[in-house]
Amino acid sequence: MTQALVEVRNLKKYFSIGQEFDLKAVDGVSFTINKGETLGLVGESGCGKSTLGRTIIRLYENTDGEVLFKGKNVHKLRGKEAGQFNRDVQMIFQDPQASLNPRMTVEDIIAEGLDIHGLNRGMRRERVAELLQLVGLHRDHAQRFPHEFSGGQRQRIGIARALAVEPEFIIADEPISALDVSIQAQVVNLLEDLQQDRGLTYLFIAHDLSMVKHISNRIGVMYLGKLVELATSNELYARPLHPYTQALLSSVPVPDPTVKRERIVLQGDLPSPANKPSGCGFRTRCPLATARCTEEEPIWQEAEAGHWVACHMI
């Protein structure tokens, strides 16, 4: 029996934007992440996937709902427990240029977490050297500054920093989007190796569907602050149920000129999350929408074992 490490229950995160309506970035999302698995989260810009990640790790306070990590409500943790949570859960950011302090040496960047949690035990330099080697860099790199590295190397530094405090759960928010194609595979392989060696659990947020499919065990698809579908990666690719997932998958250009696919081109754009359509959020672009979709919000239900979807047409 797989064990849930993270449980998200009806999580909501609204931002006040000084108007009558709040911006509902995350609007009632529920799912679990099992120990040792990689859950991929895909969706277009503005769908709330990054906000969801940041609310789970408590960079944002929640508006409603809860996040349970090892059974404990994350947003209620205080004192020692909160400190332990900050060690157990780490984050890798999209832009390695922006997420590393340009005035700190690599050693100080990586060891910052060790210092904060009092873990260096007089072995600071050795720990940093170990971590650098673990992510495929050299121990001599410790005294250099971030600008002396290429994008791929900087992302490795970001990964080393996340690993320094020996976390169990890592949220990677678009960790490879800023990297070149030939470098992306290097970083993904590194993340996979680390997961195998250390039994890490990942929440992998990205918009590149082929890479998410490659790395994830299960994938959740978000649209306008809500999950619209969640299934194992192979199931989601082979039998997408939600019309949005179907359109999304068919939009990905396949790097093979001999493949000619029927593409579902969605009309229009993503509505503003500050002014959502009534009923189902996707109905304004959905080729199957009916009157019911305008009036009633579809419920999040398990259509088949392990395959969740929110659509009236199912």
Partner: protein
Amino acid sequence: MTMRQHLLEIDDLKVNFKTYGGEVQAVRGVSFHVDKGETVAIVGESGCGKSVTAQAIMGLIPNPPGRIVGGKVVFEGKEITHLPKKELLGIRGTQIGMVFQDPMTALNPTMKVGAQIVEGFVRSQKVTREEARKRAIEMLGLVGIPDPEKRIDQYPHQFSGGMRQRVVIAIALACQPKLVIADEPTTALDVTIQAQILDLLKRLQEEQELSVVIITHDLGVVAEVAHRMVVMYAGMVVETGTVEDVFANPRHPYTWGLMRSLPRLDEGEKQRLIPIEGSPPDLFQPPKGCPFAARCDFAMEICDQQMPVTSEFAEGHQAACWLHDPRAPRIEELVAAGRQGV
């Protein structure tokens, strides 16, 4: 002149940029051509010189610090490499249109989109206000913007990202150019919007018999829209050919490596990705020999010493790699040996 003439021909183009750290050789002898009615994709990673090549065609290299130090750009049989600005204006924007990556920075935020679309049109041909307005509405309709009569009087911030990119395409097409250069036109957009824009480009290219140069790092986009492709690495062309030929039979280890490193949506059982190890060379001091040698699994001694010569395979399918020299060991043997070694 009965010989088939290329619409655009780039011959041994070289562009350098002066920086505090020295002179960067961004483009180091690039040659390719574009024929009427075809779409050519330039593919490569950041810093490979693909955007600089496009800027050189358009006469947009900022000088200083940039400089075209060699080679030429020929458009319709006429050399336009070092054209004075006045003459260049007769070509840029009117005969050759450009679509930029980021539609927000490409548009003027203080100008109504209608005025931006016909700016070049009004300048190049004497037209009345009514004619210009009619033209702008026509162009907005052509690129699929609903309700063009109303939208023409709006500002860029009132458009979404995908709609803005349509406006940029309308600007590029307003003067009915023969060639459109699109530099990463969909990179800033979401996948479902990217699909819309690629469909639009394809439709316009067919309807208007346009020639298109599309610059991208995404091999999926190449396979979807292009007829021929030019693969660049470290300021040079390493492989060129029809999209079908290059995808079916990549002849340069870099092209091959790129294709192998991509995960595929239709991959069945999970396979480990095969990355290209290392990173591209420093173009302040480019290597004497093949720029890919340091990352190449099949590098031989000569690769570090001498620039490879270009070999031709099928018609127009060329690659610059020493492995295709008749004296080189056959790559199949190397692959087999490599497999054994692993």
